[in-house]
């Protein structure tokens, strides 16, 4: 690995410049001196990543895309797509955008089945492929914003823990058909595991369980991202892609699929990536209180919209301005309406949805408005065909681990 550490002063200078260029910097971001590891640039951690990504954890290779970069592309290029891993990857074969080429890589299918099966990447390549453009989002995306009410532990993602990419692969149900997988009719879950392993002898492996029948309808065993073999760090050579689900459930480096009747006991399923099923007050519940009856996993994505133009803190000329952004949901029904407000929610102006590559992808929307001089707050709020919408105050959905933020996006600009 060709990484180079710079002397402290150079690092500090580069970081402060990089931080200064990130428009939505706030008190929530650790100061430059916080950690030698934050001073390491994204491209030094994962070969090929753009240096401007915000590094949350160097050793685990966790990094976020600044909005200024994210908004430039409809299909988020691999160089800037956010990364999240659960075990250290620095120096490993996964710390690169280059693909892992291995046609013998095998996915085993077992559990409550009449007869287990296995399929290689080589076999998958020969089968019928489908493409789906889908939003990939970390369920912790937006966690930083819960701190306004009560801070929650974990990576303090803001907005860039998400992207929009096109996956290509084989439908999961086609794989099951090809292997004549006979499932127990009472089995409820698909439990998936990847090649990554915990570092210490007693830790839980990163394993997730998802609702079997919903997932059978939409999941693919993906081989390509944005038209090329999936970069190693994003889960290649084969990733379980479940459009509409949070990223954590879309197991990277897939090796095992199991038909089960319960969720995996992995702590990553039982203690993390869960939300309470009822509202909780900060201080009354922590993740160790989670069980199967008071909480549910971060499966389908909550409806969300993000303002791309303008950015928070920008200075704009008074007059006509085209507010632009994206919206998405879990893909069960289409996103129907996006509204913007210039007066903190008193009046709402309907935006126009101009593009989407399907139910699971970003819906691009825009609204031409007249901006008057002064400090203005621009809000955006989306609704889907089931009437599901975003809370006016995201903190109202506070939960012990700060997941699934989908509060109305509020951007402050100076209009001159």
């Amino acid at each position: 690995m060709d990484t180079k550490r710079r002397e402290f002063l150079k690092r500090a200078l580069v970081t402060s410049v990089a931080l200064g260029a990130y428009p939505t910097l706030s008190l929530l971001t650790p100061p430059p001196s916080a950690n030698a590891q934050t001073l390491v640039k994204a491209n030094e951690i994962i070969k090929g990543k753009a240096p401007g990504l915000i590094v949350h954890n160097a050793k685990a290779g966790v990094m976020e895309t600044p909005l200024s970069l994210l908004r430039k592309y409809y299909h988020t290029p691999k160089e800037i797509l956010f990364v999240r891993n659960h075990f250290p990857i620095t120096g490993s074969r996964y710390a690169t955008l280059k693909p892992i080429i291995d046609d013998k890589w095998t996915v085993r299918i077992g559990g409550l089945v009449g007869r287990p099966g296995e399929i290689t990447v080589g076999d998958l390549k020969k089968m019928e492929q489908v493409e789906v453009t889908a939003v990939l989002q970390c369920s912790g995306n937006g966690r930083a914003f819960y701190a306004k009410r009560a801070k929650t532990p974990g990576t303090q993602w803001k907005i860039g823990g998400m992207g929009n990419v096109t996956w290509k692969g084989v439908r999961l149900k086609d794989v099951f058909k090809a292997l004549s997988i006979e499932m127990d009719p009472e089995a409820n879950y698909l439990t998936a595991n990847g090649k990554d392993r915990p570092l210490t002898p007693r830790g839980s492996d990163f394993v997730h369980s998802v609702p079997l029948h919903d997932v059978l309808n939409k999941a693919i065993l993906a081989l390509e991202m944005n038209g090329e073999p999936i970069p190693a760090v994003h889960g290649g050579p084969v990733r379980l892609v479940i459009p509409g689900y949070y990223g954590t459930m879309q197991i990277k480096w897939l090796t095992d699929l199991s038909i089960t009747d319960r969720e995996t006991p992995s702590r990553f399923q039982q203690r993390a990536y869960r939300n309470p099923i009822f509202p909780v007050e900060p201080g009354t519940m922590t993740p160790r209180d989670f069980n199967r009856f008071n909480s549910r996993p971060n499966w389908g994505m909550k409806i969300k919209s993000v303002i791309f133009y303008p950015l928070n803190g920008e200075t704009i000329e008074a007059g006509m301005y085209k507010i632009k952004g994206v919206a998405w949901n879990d893909g069960l029904v289409p996103v129907k309406e996006v509204y913007v407000s210039l007066d903190k929610g008193r009046e709402w102006i309907k935006a126009k949805i101009v593009k989407s590559e399907g139910l699971y992808a970003w819906y691009l929307w825009e609204a031409e408005v007249e901006l008057e001089k002064g400090r203005r707050e621009i809000w955006a709020r989306a609704f889907d065909a089931w009437g599901r919408g975003q809370p006016l105050k995201g903190v109202d959905r506070w939960n012990p681990k700060g997941y699934e933020w989908n509060g109305v996006h509020k951007v402050t600009v100076e209009v001159v």
Partner: protein
């Protein structure tokens, strides 16, 4: 006023001298350094600064589920540190001043044993052994490893290790010298022992400002 200013100056001075790492110094900080960098960098801890004691307790329990191994005493000390210094009302950072500080064996227990184990045997495939490890005597190599970390595959006694060791540069020159001198004489290593490392030598090597990869290069150099 004068007293307050010189106390403040002392704190700032100590913080500058003792704090090469991201955590504010305080009792238990060394445990956090040694226990919480195996699987991820310390920025996770720093980013979560401000959460309550209950949230820190829950977080440490979660980490135990992911593989963190701590004794109940260590766990209590870690939670005590995190809930005060990384809690909603952190006290002013004060360097720990315990007399046990320069006991090489105790320092090894606190900082190194969680990976390299109390008996110096490490864990196969994860953490290399120090007992009978000839590289401990390759000039200043062990000092460099402690100061700057080590990245890259290595072979010890014929077994391969593909992990990485974080830097412990937050330890003082005296502490590092004490630890090196301890491991060079423990578990039967004393038959290879030649001479002690001094804090001044550690200070000299600290100035080299190497990287995890450069230390690996030095190791593999014949």
């Amino acid at each position: 006023m004068k007293k307050g200013l010189s106390a403040l100056a002392l704190v700032i001075f100590l913080t500058g001298v003792c704090m090469a790492g991201p955590l504010p110094p305080g009792p238990g900080a060394d445990l956090v350094y040694s226990k919480c960098q195996t699987c991820h960098g310390l920025n996770y801890v720093v980013e979560s600064k401000g959460i309550s004691k209950r949230q820190w307790e829950s977080t440490i329990e979660e980490m135990e589920g992911y593989g963190l191994q701590v004794t109940p005493e260590e766990k209590e000390k870690i939670i005590q540190y995190l809930s005060s210094y990384m809690g909603p009302n952190p006290p002013p950072a004060v360097a720990e001043k315990s007399p046990e500080k320069l006991n090489g064996s105790k320092l090894f227990q606190t900082n190194c044993a969680s990976c390299h184990q109390e008996n110096g045997k490490g864990i196969t495939g994860l953490f290399p052994p120090l007992a009978g490890n000839p590289y401990l005597f390759k000039d200043e190599y062990p000092v460099l490893v402690v100061l700057f970390g080590l990245a890259g595959p290595i072979k010890v006694q014929g077994k391969e290790f593909k992990n990485s060791m974080p830097s412990f540069s937050h330890l003082s020159n005296e502490e590092i010298a004490a630890i090196i001198n301890y491991i060079r004489k423990a578990w039967g290593n004393e038959k290879f022992f030649k001479k002690e490392v001094t804090p001044q030598e550690v200070a000299k090597y600290r100035g080299k400002k190497l990287t995890e990869e450069k230390v690996h290069e030095y190791r593999e150099k014949k």
